[in-house]
């Protein structure tokens, strides 16, 4: 098995784990972690792509690497935004959950203008 294939398989495994976590876990923080796992898997796949597209004399195609750096920055920003939202939710309701039954009843029925 070549290095590139190993990269690809690891990426696929990470992405699978992440996707499973993102779909099944009800807690936002776990979902965010799962999203990061899924993201790392996808970035590894990019590494694999870069390796596969290598031509003679160049160890790897730089374009996917440039893309993956952009994608990492984007995922980082997304994580920060999501964490900020979770913290605000925790501050206001005392618990961070996505189930829709409790916070509305806790704060009373308020209008949406």
């Amino acid at each position: 098995m070549s290095d590139a294939t190993l990269f690809g398989l690891c990426g696929a495994a990470l992405a699978g784990l992440g996707l499973y976590g993102l779909v099944t876990h009800p807690e936002p923080l776990r979902k965010i972690l799962a999203f990061n796992l899924l993201g790392s898997g996808v970035f590894l796949v990019f590494g694999f792509v870069s390796r596969r597209a290598a031509t003679a004399g160049v160890p790897g195609d730089p374009v996917p690497q440039a893309m993956v750096i952009t994608a990492i920055v984007v995922a980082f920003a997304a994580t920060a935004l999501a964490i900020a939202l979770v913290l605000r939710l925790l501050e206001q309701t005392g618990r961070a959950t996505l189930s829709s039954d409790d916070p509305a009843s806790a704060t009373g029925e308020k209008g949406n203008s």
Binding site: A82, Q92, S100
Partner: protein, 503 residues
């Protein structure tokens, strides 16, 4: 044949750079100046958009700009074809009018001190304008990914502007759906790059072949975009997010933001791989669209809050947009081609953008004036706020698709295509959807027209210019139907190959 920067190409750069400059200036100038900056940037954006449209209409060929003179596949190209030009003008108009409407709610100088809400609102409004322009003009799939993320990051704060726990929850759910969508899209771009060593749309459309990796990439990207567009059954995040936001924010979310990812679906299937959707795929997309229409409309009918009704109506109307896929499929060659169905679908997107923004604004005004938006207790609203209820009704007329609205013209184009290709079920679906929209608009308007037993006490006076803004957009949507006599051909200005098909 390599692209070259065309004469009007610099306009494409302006369309993206202007809002960015506005945002950066706002961050320097601070919260009290931000509205003034936005009120310069948004109209300038409209002027640039109109210039792009005019250039395209006059010359009949697409605009292109090669960034830094680096040719694809290494460089990035910005392109404006007919679809982008039409959508760019529509979103610029909608965002401009929303800016006027939002002056009352997010006035930076009304308060003695700087408020975060209005600061965030104006910056995000400009950011949404920027991201939408990039989505319409981006010429390669990775630039489009970045644009899509920009759009999400600008839209999520708008959902939870007022900071109530429910809206933060809605924003978080929206963000998670959107992140899943964009990561699926990203896997697709990785696979495509691995197979073809380019992500440029024009180059990719020449190189793309029917093979497993490409198909998997296309399916992943499409599912991701469906999650962002809130196509049934991935619509769960939309109603709470759109109904909970302040009126101006709901208007921009429902009218503009969902069109971004929809536009990418169109780009992907019509631009990159028209031959790959096939009969079964097109029918499947159509079935999802039909499901959205039925589900969204029925749930909308059962709502007792006006804003939720409008939000579910958005779910239904998004379904309509996807009905064009089976209708644009050529039954013989099984490729998607640029025909009346595509023009109809895009026109429907434009009509929905203007009409839905008007309806959300009207709902916001009704809420501000009455202090609630319970549909059953709307009695007397039509007498107290005639212009607002009229704007709502006109918006409704466009959703139903009565002449001379753009909705009518769009559905006519789609129906024509359905009958020409003998696809009767889709024609039926178009008509049934119109009936449903008629039902839920009628429920609201009939309640608003009832005279109440006791005279209605308005909680607050509503500024006239806000009512005028809602009415303006509703009338734009109504009169958009007249494009049949003029620039509708612009929709079909595309790359060379597409033009030949038409003639």
């Amino acid at each position: 044949m390599p692209d070259a920067t065309t004469s009007g190409g610099i306009l494409l750069v302006l369309a993206i750079v202007l809002p960015v400059v506005g945002i950066l200036l706002s961050l320097i100038a601070g919260g009290r100046q931000v509205e003034r900056i936005a009120l310069v940037v948004l109209p300038s954006n409209l002027i640039v958009a109109s210039a792009i449209f005019a250039d395209l209409w006059r010359s009949g060929r697409q605009l292109a700009y090669i960034v830094g003179d680096w040719q694809p596949p290494l460089g990035i190209t910005l392109r404006a074809d007919g679809l982008s030009a039409a959508m760019i003008v529509t979103t610029a108009v909608v965002i401009c009018v929303i800016g006027v409407f939002a002056h009352a709610d997010f006035d930076c100088r009304a308060e003695p001190f700087e408020t975060r809400t209005s600061f965030v609102f104006w910056i995000m409004l400009m950011a949404i304008g920027c991201a939408m322009n990039l989505i319409f003009l981006g010429g390669d799939l990775f630039t489009l990914y970045v644009a899509l993320e920009l759009l999400t990051f600008a839209a999520v704060p708008l959902v939870c502007l007022d900071g109530r726990a429910e809206t933060i929850q809605a924003a978080l759910r929206y963000l998670l759906f959107a992140l899943l969508g964009s990561i699926l899209y990203l896997v697709g771009t990785a696979l495509l790059y691995g197979s073809y060593a380019t992500l440029d749309i024009a180059l990719l459309s020449q190189r793309v072949r029917m093979e497993t990796a490409t198909l998997v990439a296309a399916v992943l990207m499409t599912v991701g975009l469906f999650a962002k567009t809130a196509l049934f059954p991935l619509h769960l995040w939309l109603p709470p997010a759109h109904a909970g936001a302040p009126a101006a924010a709901s208007a921009v979310l429902s009218a503009v933001v969902v069109k971004g990812s929809f536009f990418l679906v169109v780009r992907l299937w019509f631009g990159v791989m028209p031959g790959m959707l096939g009969f079964a795929g097109a029918q499947l997309v159509g079935v999802l669209g039909a499901g959205a229409i039925l589900f969204g409309s029925i749930v909308a009918l059962r709502q007792n809050r006006l804003k939720l009704l409008i939000a579910y109506s958005t779910v239904a109307q998004i379904g309509y947009l996807f009905l064009m896929f089976p209708l644009a499929l050529d039954p013989v060659s099984e490729t998607l081609h640029v025909n009346g169905a595509l023009a109809g679908g895009m026109l429907l997107a434009m009509s929905h953008a203007t009409a839905k923004a008007a309806m959300f604004m009207a709902a916001g005004l009704i809420y501000a004036a009455l202090g609630h938006d319970r549909i059953a207790e709307l009695g007397g609203a039509a007498r107290a706020l005639p212009m607002t209820v009229f704007a709502f009704a006109i918006g409704g007329v466009c959703l139903i698709g009565l002449p001379p609205s753009a909705g009518f013209l769009a559905k006519w184009l789609l129906l024509e295509e359905a009958i020409a290709t003998g696809q009767w079920p889709w024609a039926m679906m178009l008509l049934v959807g119109g009936l449903f929209s008629g039902a839920y608009v009628f429920i609201v308007v009939s309640h608003a027209l009832v005279s109440p037993q006791e005279p209605l006490k308005l909680r607050a006076a509503v500024p006239k210019y806000q009512e005028a803004a809602a009415l303006t957009l509703a009338l734009v949507s109504l009169l958009l139907g007249f494009v049949a006599f003029g620039p509708i051909d612009v929709l079909q200005v595309g790359p060379g190959a597409a033009m030949e098909v038409l003639q």
